[in-house]
C-alpha cells in the first residue's frame, strides 16, 4: 500500500483507453493529436499539480478556478490598459496569488476552520474581484504573446510541443520531485496521514498549511498566465468550474481524498484521461460534449470505489486495533 497500485491502474486505464480510441480512429495515435492534448490541458495539468499537494495534505482548494479567472483579467488589463511590461505583470500576479493562498492557509490554520468553506469564500472573493476589474473579455496583443504561441518544438510526425505544454511538463516533473524527494513533500504526506501525529513528531503544521495553500494558489496563478497565452485574452468568466475538473483529475490519478496518499504523476495521468475523453468526443463528432461529464463521473465513481476497496483490504488484518478515527 505505498500508493502505487492506484497509479498503475490509472496508467492501465489510460493506455487501454488510448488503444481503444486509436483502434476506432487511427488518427488519434499521432504526435499531432498528442501534442494538442498536452497544449489544450496545459493549464489543467499545472493547477492539478498544486491540488495534488493540497489533497494529499488532507485539504481541498475550491478557489483555483477563480484564481485562474482573476489572473487572466489582471494580466490582460495590466498589459493592455495600464501599460505594465508583461514580465512585471506576471511577477506581480504570481506574488498576489501566492499571498492569496498563504492568507487562506493562515485562516484555515489559525481559526481551525474547514478548508472546504474557507476556500469557498476564497472562490467567491477571487471571482468577485475579477468581475470588479472587468466584466468584458480583454484581448491581449502584446508581442510576447505571439512569440510564445508561435514557439513550438517539432515532434516527429508533424506534432508540435508548444511552449505552454513544455511549461506544464516542467511543473509536473518539478512537482513530482518536490513531493517525492524533499522534506516538504514528506511533511505533506505526514499532514494528510495524521495531523495530530505529524504535529507531535515535530512537523510545523501551521507553516506547512500556509505553504501548501500558497503553492496551490501560486500554481493556479501560473495556470492563469498559461491560460491567457492559450486564449490570448483575459476574461473574468474563464475557468469557471475548473476546480471540479481538477479534483476529478486528482482522484482519477489515485490520490486519496482523505489525504495521506497519492502522486503528482497519477494526477498527470488523470488529466490526460480527461483530455482523451474530450479528444474522442471531438473525433466522433456525433457525441455531445455532455458525455464528457457523464464519462468523468463514471470514472470518478470507479476510482473512488476502487480506493474504498483497497483501503478496506489494507485495514482488514488490523481491523480490531484500527478503531481510533480522527
Amino acid at each position: 500500500m505505498k500508493g502505487l497500485p492506484p497509479v498503475v491502474i490509472t496508467a492501465i486505464v489510460l493506455v487501454l483507453g488510448f488503444a481503444l480510441c486509436a483502434m476506432q480512429f487511427p488518427n488519434i495515435a499521432s504526435t499531432r493529436v498528442v501534442g494538442n492534448l498536452l497544449t489544450d490541458n496545459a493549464f489543467l495539468g499545472i493547477v492539478a499539480t498544486g491540488m495534488t499537494f493540497v489533497i494529499i495534505s488532507g485539504g481541498i482548494d475550491l478557489s483555483v478556478g477563480s484564481v485562474i479567472g482573476f489572473t487572466t483579467v489582471f494580466v490582460a488589463l495590466a498589459i493592455e490598459r495600464w501599460g505594465v511590461p508583461p514580465l512585471v505583470a506576471f511577477v506581480a500576479i504570481l506574488v498576489l496569488s501566492a499571498g492569496f493562498g498563504a492568507a487562506m492557509g493562515a485562516v484555515i490554520h489559525v481559526f481551525d476552520l474547514p478548508p472546504f468553506i474557507v476556500t469557498l469564500a476564497g472562490m467567491f472573493l477571487a471571482r468577485g474581484a475579477s468581475f470588479l476589474l472587468s466584466t468584458e473579455s480583454v484581448p491581449i496583443s502584446a508581442p510576447i504573446y505571439s512569440t510564445v504561441s508561435d514557439f513550438a518544438l517539432r515532434l516527429p510526425g508533424g506534432g508540435r510541443l508548444t511552449a505552454i505544454a513544455i511549461i506544464m511538463l516542467a511543473i509536473v516533473i518539478g512537482g513530482a520531485l518536490l513531493l517525492t524527494f524533499t522534506r516538504f513533500g514528506a511533511n505533506v504526506y505526514a499532514l494528510g496521514g495524521n495531523r495530530v501525529a505529524a504535529n507531535l513528531m515535530g512537523v510545523a503544521v501551521g507553516r506547512m498549511t500556509v505553504r501548501i495553500y500558497m503553492l496551490s494558489s501560486l500554481l493556479a496563478g501560473i495556470a492563469g498566465i498559461v491560460f491567457s497565452f492559450y486564449t490570448s485574452a483575459g476574461y473574468s468568466l474563464s475557468a469557471v468550474g475548473v476546480e471540479l475538473d481538477t479534483i476529478a483529475a486528482v482522484v482519477i490519478g489515485g490520490t486519496l481524498l482523505t489525504g495521506g496518499q497519492g502522486s503528482v504523476i497519477g494526477t498527470f495521468l488523470g488529466v490526460l484521461i480527461q483530455g482523451l475523453i474530450q479528444t474522442y468526443i471531438n473525433f466522433d463528432g456525433t457525441l455531445s460534449s455532455w458525455w464528457t461529464k457523464i464519462a468523468t463521473g463514471v470514472l470518478l465513481f470507479a476510482f473512488i470505489a476502487l480506493q474504498q476497496a483497497l483501503v478496506a483490504l489494507a485495514r482488514r488484518p488490523v481491523a480490531k486495533s484500527a478503531g481510533a478515527a480522527s
Partner: protein, 330 residues
C-alpha cells in the same frame, strides 16, 4: 452548549434586520406592497419568491450537514428534475410530472446515501460524482436543448398565487412546516444530531446511524428536485447547463449562516431558511442599489468569512477574546 440556547437565532435575525434596513436606505420603496390580480407584489415578496429554491435546498442540506455530511450534488439534481418536469409537462398531467421529477430526486438521494452510508465514502467525494455526472444526465434528458413548455398547471407552480401569496413561497413554507413536524415532532431530529455528533457512539447507543444518513440524503434529493421543478416552472423551461448552477454553494452558505456547524450535531431548520433569506435579501439589495450583480460574490465572501470567524472554535464567546486553551469536546 447551554449558554448558546437563549441567543440562538438572535444574530441571524439582527443580521436580517440590518440588511433590510440597508435595503430600505438604498431603495425607499423597498417595503411597499400592493395587491394586483389577487397576488401580492413588491420587493419583499420578490425576496421571498427568489429565495425559494435556495430555501428548499437548505432544508435538505441542513439535515445532511447535521449528520456531518455535505451534498454537493443538489444543483445537478435541480437540473435533472427540472429537465424531466419540462420534458413531460406538455404531454402529462401535473401529478405525473411531479411524481417523475420528485422520483428522480429520490433516486439521486438514494444513490448519494448509498455511497455514504453503505459504502462508507466521504460525503464530499460521494456527492461530487453526481455533481459532475448529474449535469451531463440532465443534458441527456433535454438532448442539449433548452426545453420549454406551456402547460398552465406547471406554470402556475412557478408563477401562480394562493390567497395572494406566490405559490413557490407557499410550497417552501409548507415544506418547512412538514420537515419541522417530522423531524422535531419526533425523536428523529435528536437521532440525526446524535449521528452527527458522534456516529460511533450513537451506533453503540442503538441509533440506526446508517438508516439516518440514508434518510437525510434522500430527503435532500427530494427537496432539491422540488426546487428544480419550481425553478423550471418559474422560467417556463429547463436549461440543463444553468439550472441550479452553483446553488449548492448558496445552500451550504445558508446553512452555515443559520448557525449549523459543518462538523455536524445541532441544527436548526428555521435558521437555515432564514440564512437563505439573508442571502437573497443581500442579492436583491445589491440589484436595487444599481451596483453590478457581480458585487454579490464579494459581499458573499465577506459574509462567509465573518460568519466563519464568529463560529470558529478559537473565537468562542461573544467577546472574541482568544481563550488560552481549546474547549474540551465533551
Amino acid at each position: 452548549m447551554t449558554a448558546l440556547l437563549p441567543r440562538r437565532g438572535l444574530a441571524q435575525i439582527l443580521a436580517l434586520i440590518v440588511i433590510l434596513a440597508v435595503d430600505r436606505v438604498v431603495s425607499p420603496q423597498f417595503f411597499d406592497l400592493r395587491l394586483q390580480d389577487g397576488r401580492l407584489f413588491g420587493s419583499l415578496i420578490d425576496v421571498l419568491n427568489r429565495g425559494t429554491p435556495v430555501a428548499l435546498l437548505s432544508l435538505g442540506m441542513v439535515l445532511v450537514i447535521a449528520t456531518r455530511g455535505i451534498d454537493l450534488s443538489v444543483g445537478a439534481v435541480m437540473a435533472i428534475s427540472g429537465a424531466i418536469a419540462a420534458s413531460l409537462a406538455d404531454s402529462h398531467g401535473l401529478p405525473v410530472v411531479l411524481a417523475a421529477a420528485l422520483g428522480a430526486g429520490l433516486v439521486c438521494g438514494l444513490w448519494n446515501g448509498f455511497l455514504v452510508s453503505v459504502l462508507g465514502m466521504q460525503p464530499i467525494v460521494a456527492t461530487l460524482i453526481l455533481m459532475v455526472a448529474g449535469r451531463g444526465i440532465a443534458q441527456l434528458i433535454t438532448e442539449g436543448r433548452i426545453v420549454t413548455f406551456s402547460s398552465p398547471d406547471l406554470v402556475w407552480l412557478g408563477n401562480g398565487s394562493i390567497l395572494g401569496v406566490p405559490v413557490p413561497v407557499a410550497i417552501a413554507l409548507g415544506m418547512l412546516i412538514l420537515t419541522g413536524a417530522v423531524v422535531r415532532g419526533s425523536a428523529l431530529g435528536l437521532l440525526i444530531e446524535a449521528t452527527g455528533g458522534n456516529a460511533r457512539a450513537s451506533e453503540l447507543a442503538g441509533v440506526g446511524t446508517r438508516a439516518m444518513i440514508l434518510a437525510v440524503y434522500v430527503w435532500c434529493g427530494v427537496c432539491a428536485a422540488l426546487a428544480g421543478v419550481i425553478a423550471a416552472a418559474d422560467i417556463m423551461g429547463a436549461d440543463a447547463n444553468n439550472a441550479g448552477l452553483w446553488l449548492e454553494l448558496d445552500a451550504i452558505l445558508a446553512v452555515v449562516i443559520g448557525g449549523t456547524s459543518l462538523f455536524g450535531g445541532r441544527f436548526s431548520l428555521v435558521l437555515a431558511v432564514l440564512g437563505a433569506l439573508i442571502i437573497q435579501t443581500m442579492n436583491t439589495g445589491i440589484l436595487l442599489s444599481g451596483y453590478p450583480p457581480e458585487f454579490n460574490l464579494l459581499v458573499k465572501a465577506v459574509v462567509v468569512l465573518t460568519v466563519l470567524l464568529l463560529q470558529s472554535p478559537k473565537l468562542s464567546g461573544f467577546s472574541g477574546i482568544m481563550p488560552p486553551l481549546r474547549r474540551a469536546k465533551a
